[in-house]
């Protein structure tokens, strides 16, 4: 059976498990209808011109895991960040794992979506925010909405500065063959509050895993959010990450995406600036090999004056890997004094690797500063020679230059422990050990 039909028919089974009389259920029903109409995106769509999901959706996925799988902390210890106290939200095969997690209700809510969707005390927040910034015309987002049940729920009240970062990990054991996961996350940061979130998806099996994730983030006035996405999954799993960020006056949201793993990774990152004096930052480092594909689609909609956005994406491609970058900046008529900057630098290391880049600007206001730059090239041969002339072996020299290339983005990581972790992943990826700290 085709995955599309399987998903649509599973929705009936899904309805048996949940409260079908709630308002949320109307949203779900509308979403599945929309998905039925649109189906999975194909290459004929301008937004999917360079990325085909065909090789992913042909697998026979189990749509929901029937039983809760338990995993031993010792086995997965390596996937947690070392030497740091964090709030933890851990999910296994789409179910919340209370043993590995450390939730908090101490004046704030760091808990799970299933509780938020069903308990009356969260109803107000859910009504105000749930599915309010997600794109109702996007088929994969609709698919996720239809099956939305579990995921992280974070609500930080007014003027609360969270000291410990929040770590969200979605594990897939895949004990039951191929598995499809659809986590749904909601992050609401009230006025003047600050939070740091680290999110990752990890497969523990060689069976194919397909994750279609949707995260909605709301930053109220003066809120500060740093969101780190660590994508270092095994090469049998794929991820479509749809993130929608809605910002209010003076808020500052930064999303850092580190894409090193996975078979296919698609990041749809959408920023909506709902007021003036807003800052939005997107950083990304992509280092991939073999036949991996990483696709970054960013959208920044400047709808109000005096806002800024910065994008800096670096990519290093080896083997037969493919990189896609599509950055879109829209500046509305009233969004005067906008300052939008977009940069995409790429290095191709092998002659089988491919890069497709499409930095777009759509500008309707005149008093703006908008620019974009895109380069594709190789490591500087002179610099490589300089290092080798000083006794640094070729592999290490290449790694050094790669670091230097990606350094701008790595510098933006504020958590030192996370920086070390990212550095270690890169070193492992390049097969060298570097004798310095970033």
């Amino acid at each position: 059976m085709q995955l599309t039909e399987k998903l649509i028919s599973s929705f009936l089974a899904f309805e048996l498990d949940i409260d079908i009389h709630s308002d949320i259920h109307n949203i779900r029903t509308n979403a599945i209808k929309k998905f039925e109409e649109l189906g999975f995106p194909n290459k004929k769509l301008e937004n999917w011109k360079y990325t085909s999901l065909n090789r992913i959706i042909k697998e026979d996925y189990t749509v929901f895991s029937k039983k809760k799988n338990v995993i031993d902390f010792k086995k997965v210890k390596d996937y947690f960040i070392d030497n740091i106290e964090t709030h933890k939200l851990i999910f296994v095969d789409g179910f919340f794992d209370p043993f590995l997690s450390q939730t908090s209700h101490d004046g704030l809510d760091i808990c799970i979506m299933s509780a938020a969707l069903s308990k009356p005390k969260y109803a107000k927040i859910i009504e105000k925010y749930f599915n309010k910034s997600a794109n109702l015309e996007d088929s994969l987002t609709c698919l996720n909405t239809a099956f939305s049940k579990e995921g992280a729920y974070v609500h930080i009240p007014k003027n609360t500065v969270l000291e410990k970062p929040i770590e969200i990990i979605h594990f897939a054991t895949g004990n039951e063959a191929a598995l499809m996961l659809q986590p749904r996350n909601l992050v609401v940061v009230e006025q003047g509050a600050e939070v740091e979130i680290i999110e990752s998806h990890q497969s523990l099996t060689v069976n194919p895993i397909f994750t279609n994730s949707v995260t909605e983030i709301f930053a109220e006035k003066n809120a500060n959010i740093d969101y780190y996405k660590i994508q270092n999954d095994v090469v049998t799993s794929s991820l479509v990450d749809n993130t929608y960020i809605s910002q209010k006056r003076n808020s500052d949201v930064k999303v850092h995406t580190f894409s090193f793993g996975g078979k296919l990774t698609r990041n749809n990152l959408n920023f909506f600036q709902k007021d003036s004096s807003i800052n939005s930052t997107m950083n990304g480092v992509t280092i991939i090999d073999y036949d991996q594909l990483v696709d970054h689609h960013t959208l920044v909609h400047h709808a109000n004056p005096n806002c800024e956005s910065h994008q800096d994406y670096k990519g290093i491609y080896s083997g037969k890997s493919t990189g896609v970058f599509n950055g879109k900046i829209i500046v509305d008529k009233i969004a005067q004094k906008t300052n939008a900057f977009q940069q995409n630098n790429n290095i191709l290391l092998d002659n089988k690797s491919t890069i497709n880049s499409k930095p777009q600007l759509e500008i309707f206001a005149d008093d703006v500063k908008c620019s974009h730059g895109c380069t594709i090239g190789q490591l500087d041969q002179d610099a490589l020679f300089y290092l080798r002339a000083r006794g640094i072996p070729k592999k290490e020299a290449k790694a050094l230059l790669t670091y230097a290339f990606a350094n701008n983005v790595l510098e933006s990581v504020k958590i030192p422990e996370l920086k070390i972790r990212v550095k270690n992943i890169i070193a492992k990826k390049l097969g060298v050990s570097l004798g310095f700290d970033l």
Partner: protein
């Protein structure tokens, strides 16, 4: 009194089209509509051989199956293809032998355009082929050229007299089925220019074609074919105007360039079709397919100044097939009032050590929309390909838009590709800097706009640069000094 940007904006809004006159010339026009019979009739009227008629019919048949493309960033009312007359010729049976025989009304037209045939002939030394309503009416300097073996004539003449060359190259760069408008053009093109430069010949003068749509309710479908044989060089100019009319007129031309080994073609366009009035009524739809193919060590350079047309939709492209070949694209697109432009280029790198340069400048004023859309493609075998692209947009007022859609596809790791784009208005600090040095605001704006487009203007041949300057003045009067 100081000249402010506000005033410039006002002036831009009220600026009228200078070339909007209609010449009263008797014309032989087909009744409206398109069918196989019309295609046959055009072919017959042009006294074409059988193979050409068949070639056209096949194009017509594939056109019928095609759908009008909709992906561009322009909005317009689709032309009704049965409401267009596909052939209109100034009424005179024989080809002119000398200029004296040309209808004096027609000559006046050219004088008004500022391209008096006589003047051009004597002073500038430019050979001109003039096409009014799709039929070639005058070709100058033919004798001088034929001494060098250069063929420069109308395409219908070339079909009759040089069938081998035409048969070999027509449709070789832009196949009939390439797109909706190229198929339409292939079926109904009524005339255009043909140029062949023999091996090793450097064309001693600029070749030029002037297009004008005169008759109401006609479409202009001209076809240009330029072949530069091994080691030759040619610089080719093209200019266009149309009278003011209320309805939208369609212009769907096809231009094919072939640069054989070591050849160089420089193709410059100054496009000034009627852009519609300031409420966006009327104007020409300019849907043109232009493409060139470069063989080993050859070079094709496109330069365009786009100031007219209600809707412009075109991408002069280079296929860099041969090793060491070079493609260049320099463009200024100015849009005002309700004009829309979606223009850019495609650089397809296939050969080794190929290079391409793209410089695109967009200036939008009034309520216009100006888009750059470009593709840089480096194929797996194109070792050491090099590309540099730059797209800058200048916005005047907050009712217009500037858009950039660059597509960059690289499949070879030795490629070096750079792309940069910026959007800005004329900065207050820039004007202040000039004021500080004793340059008044009017001059400062002129200086800045001029500087903004200089990189492209510099690439136009001398004779044309003056005219291009003049056209920029029309669109942005008061800002170009």
């Amino acid at each position: 009194m100081a000249y402010t940007e506000e005033e410039l904006k006002k002036e831009l809004e009220t600026q009228e089209y200078e070339y909007g006159f209609v010449t009263e010339i008797d014309a032989d026009t087909f009744s409206k509509g398109l069918s196989e019979d019309v295609v046959r009739a055009i072919s017959k009227r042009k006294e074409e051989p059988n193979w050409m008629t068949e070639w056209r019919l096949e194009a017509y048949r594939s056109w019928k199956k095609m759908k009008e493309p909709e992906w561009s960033n322009v909005k317009y009312i689709k032309p009704d293809f049965q409401e267009i007359s596909y052939y209109s010729a100034p009424k005179s049976k024989d080809k002119y032998e000398s200029l004296d025989e040309v209808d004096p009304e027609l000559l006046k037209t050219f004088e008004k355009l500022g391209i008096s045939v006589n003047e051009q002939k004597k002073l500038a030394g430019v050979a001109v082929d003039i096409v009014v309503d799709s039929v070639s009416v005058a070709t100058t300097f033919r004798e001088t050229l034929s001494k060098k073996g250069i063929i420069f004539c109308s395409i219908s003449e070339a079909i009759r007299e040089y069938p081998d060359l035409v048969k070999k190259y027509i449709g070789s760069v832009i196949p009939r089925k390439d797109n909706f408008y190229s198929a339409l053009n292939s079926a109904v093109f009524s005339d255009g220019s043909f140029c062949y430069i023999p091996k090793g010949v450097r064309c001693p003068m600029e070749l030029s074609t002037y297009f004008r749509i005169n008759q109401a309710g006609t479409g202009q479908f001209e076809r240009t074919l330029v072949i530069a044989d091994e080691g030759s060089y040619v610089s080719y100019l093209e200019g266009c105007t149309a009278p003011s009319r209320d309805e939208n007129q369609l212009h769907a031309a096809v231009v094919e360039l072939i640069a054989l080994d070591n050849a160089e073609i420089k193709y410059s366009t100054v496009q000034n079709w009627y852009p519609g009035n300031k409420n966006g009524k009327g104007g020409v739809y300019n849907f043109v397919t232009k493409r060139g193919i470069c063989h080993t060590n050859s070079k094709i350079s496109w330069t365009q100044v786009e100031t007219g047309s209600a809707v412009t939709w075109k991408y002069p492209s280079c296929i860099l097939k041969g090793d060491n070949s070079i493609g260049e694209f320099y463009s200024i697109a100015v849009t005002n009032n309700y004009q829309q432009a979606d223009t850019g280029t495609k650089m397809i790198h296939i050969g080794k050590n190929t290079k391409s340069t793209i410089i695109s400048k967009g200036i939008s004023a009034g309520k216009s929309q100006n888009s750059y859309r470009g593709l840089v493609q480096v194929n797996p075998r194109a070792e050491n390909a090099r590309n540099f692209s730059q797209c800058d947009s200048l916005l005047m007022g907050n009712k217009c838009g500037a858009h950039t859609f660059p597509y960059i596809e690289v499949k070879n790791n030795t490629a070096m590709v750079e792309h940069e784009a910026s959007t800005s208005k004329i900065g207050e600090d820039q004007i202040f800097y000039c004021n500080q040095r004793g340059i008044d605001t009017e001059k400062a704006i002129a200086l800045i706009v001029n500087g903004f487009s200089k990189e492209v203007l510099n690439n136009l041949p001398m004779e044309f640069a003056v005219e291009a300057q003049k056209l920029l003045e029309i669109s942005l009067e008061g800002s170009v000094g």
